[in-house]
Every structure is written in C-alpha cells, then in structure tokens.
C-alpha cells in the first residue's frame, strides 16, 4: 500500500497504523511541541495525544488511524499559527 509522508512516498503493508508507518521513516516522530521539540507516539492507545498528525486536512491520532491507499500525512500539527486542522 502506498502512502505519502510529508510529501515523500512510502510503502507499508496493509493494516499498518499511521504511527507504525511513521516509525519506519526518519526521524520517526509525529508532531512538534510548542517549544519546537520533536514528539513521538507515547501511549499507543489514544490517550496521550502526542501522536497528532494532519491527514487530508484534519488532525488525527496516528496510533488510532490505519493507513489507507494514497493517504497523505503531515507531521506539522500545531507548528504554524492556526494550521492544526487546515
């Protein structure tokens, strides 16, 4: 299955979560903290919200989302003013 992470193509097996797909990529992180630090999935079960990513314009939890064909994922949630869901 083909997905696109921050504009770069990536191939993953069907059933892969977005968090697992991101882990295969460098740097393997998800969003950026308010002080600019890279964040990665922490709890893996939808509680900590550290794994927020932007998928087709909306914020999703990477650990709770399964990759679909052609999915375009961005890891810039919260780093630009007002852009988190845009």
């Amino acid at each position: 299955m083909h997905i696109v992470v921050n504009g770069a193509p990536l191939q993953v097996p069907a059933g892969t979560s977005v968090a697992a797909a991101l882990a295969q990529q460098t740097p393997g992180t998800t969003r950026t903290s308010v002080t600019g630090a890279a964040r990665a999935p922490l709890c893996g079960m939808g509680v900590c919200h550290e794994c927020r990513v932007r998928i087709h314009g909306r914020t999703h939890l990477a650990c709770q989302t399964v990759c679909t064909e052609g999915m375009s994922i961005h890891t810039d949630v919260g780093t630009a003013p007002g852009n988190a869901t845009l």
């Binding site: 308010v34 919200h49 914020t59 919260g78 003013p81 007002g82 988190a84 869901t85």
Partner: protein, 371 residues
Amino acid sequence: MQTTDVLVIGAGIVGAACAHALAQVGLSVRIIDARLGGATAAGMGHLVVMDDNPAELALSKSSLDLWHTWAPQIDAGCAFTACGTLWLAANEEELQAAHAKRATLQAQDVACEMLDAGALARAEPALRTGLAGALKVKGDSVVYAPRAAQWLVAQAAAHGTVVVEQAEATQIDGQTVTLRDGSQRSAGAIVLASGIHAPQLCPGLPLRPKKGHLVITDRYPGTVRHQLVELGYITSAHHSDGTSVAFNVQPRPTGQLLIGSSREFDTTDPTVNNTVMARMLQRALDYLPGLADLNAIRTWTGFRAATPDSLPLIGGHPEHPHLWLAVGHEGLGVTTAPATAQLLAAQISGGTPAINPAPYAPARFAGLSTP
C-alpha cells in the same frame, strides 16, 4: 524536634502564597504537601476581579494588585498573560448588568470600559454575531497556577528559612502536626491550606466540593484574544444547588483554548460526566460556533472547596489559638491567593492587614469544632 515559626499544610496556590508572604515578613516556614492532587492543578488560572459583594471585590482587587507587582519577575513557565476579560452581554438585560458592573468596578478604580456590539465584534471576530456588547476589564489576566505555586515557594525560599517536605499530615494537636509515618513536626503557628481535604484534619469546616469540568483544544493561535466570560456566569456560577454551565473560554499562550465551565454539587466522583460536558460544550458553541471545527485534546475535572457564603475562611480558628485557616476559595483561589496570604501573614506576625480581615474570619461560622 525541629521547630519552625509556621508550618503550612498544603502547597497549592494558597499554601504557596502563604509560605511566600510569611517568609517575606521574616518568619521561618515549613511547608508540607502530600501531593494528593488539588484544585490548583485542575483549574483555569483566570485572575479576575469579582464583585458579587464588597468583600469579594476587596479581596480579588487587592490580589490583582499583588499579581501585577509579581508579573515582571514571574518566570515564563507561569505563562502570565495580561489578556483582560470580556464580560459578554447576550441581550439588553445583560448589557444593563454590564453597565452596573462597570460602575461598581470603576468606583474601586478598576480600569474597565464598555464595548458596543461593533467594537466587540472587532475585538473578538470569532464570537457569534448578534451579541449586545461587553464590559472589558483590562487588568484581568491569566496564569498557569501549578507553576505559579512552585514559583512562589521558590521565591519564599529566596526570602527566608523555608523547608519543603513531601508528607501527609494526619492530625493537628495544638502546635504539633503528626504525619502519616508517625513522626511529628511542631511550629509556633499552623496554617491549614489543604483545600478540599481540610475537613479531614479539622472536622466542622463548612466546605463542600463543587465539581467542575474543563476541556483544552489543540493549538489555534489568534482565535481568541481575551478571557471570554458570559455575564450569565454571574447568575449561574453561584447557584447553591443543581448543575449549571456557563460560557468561559481562556486563550492560552500556546494558542490552545481552555473551555469551561461547569458547577456541580453532591458528587466526589472525578470521572468526566459526558452529559455535563455536552451541555458545557453546547453553551460554548452558542458563543463561539467555530469551536465545532477544532480538536479537543484533553478533558478533566476538579473540585472547588465551596463555603456557604462563597467567601473563603481566612484567619484564626475560633477555638484553637495556634491554628490558622486559609481554605474555601471555591472558584477564585488562584486569583485571591496573594491577598489571602497577605491577610494571614499580617495577622500571624502582628502586622496591619491591607484590607479589613473581618468578612473572611472563620468565626463567622458557628460550631467550628475541635480538630
């Protein structure tokens, strides 16, 4: 046994401010905190001048003055933001209430001004159209209370002899406090600032838990610029019974929006109640329709320590000469911690309080029994 001048039980915002004020008047202080989780870590941190009655106005205004003197020194983690408050009037009747509030506040030299419907829309474009106007209170601010409490303790340590200990007090007996491990600490005076937990050490305190829900969103900088509160809050917040919700949104320096508020008696269950949460969010959407498109990342609850007359208990326990109370700050304890501390420190050290302490004296409640 080591003895300090004052032992403060509780390092929430109230206990921390007390330790700070006591150290400033030159007393040695021991602070003990059990890390039981308190209102300080669960609340909103709105620093707001409230004027339901003259005593509340005197305490909150005197506190705001202190917050403003601290503001230039306070560290960045405390997120002090001078955003002001907009008290929103949905209709003509609330607009009249806003005018009355302005007159009350201006009589006490609190800087505020009326915004008409147009000016309000320009000040906060995300608000729904059709609001009647707002009262803008310029000096109101926002602080991140858990960090501010730490900062106050650190400042206290810089001022004088301060010991901080993680321990749970299980009994107060005269000038001696017994801890969970059986050891004892003694002091010239004991300040009870343990929030909603206080009746466990001092039975008879007239405190009731008042539960509140909060929601925080992801980061959307610039969506809202002021602390926004509906004027209906004044009527809904102080109902003594029944569950009420009111629109209250706070812009955080991170660009996140903190959304409140709910008030609920007769429960000590900390779980998020989705029915109350839904009512609260619906109320928020009535004012900020665009919230529907934003992501919430966390919800939680907290308990305010409410007194029968909505004023805190600040001062000496009527029956126990060495026991001082700083409890019952309900939904205003972050705001009123500084003046509480100053009142108490003045009384303990024999100084002159900045405002009249009488309205907050615990002795106003009959039957405060033996701890």
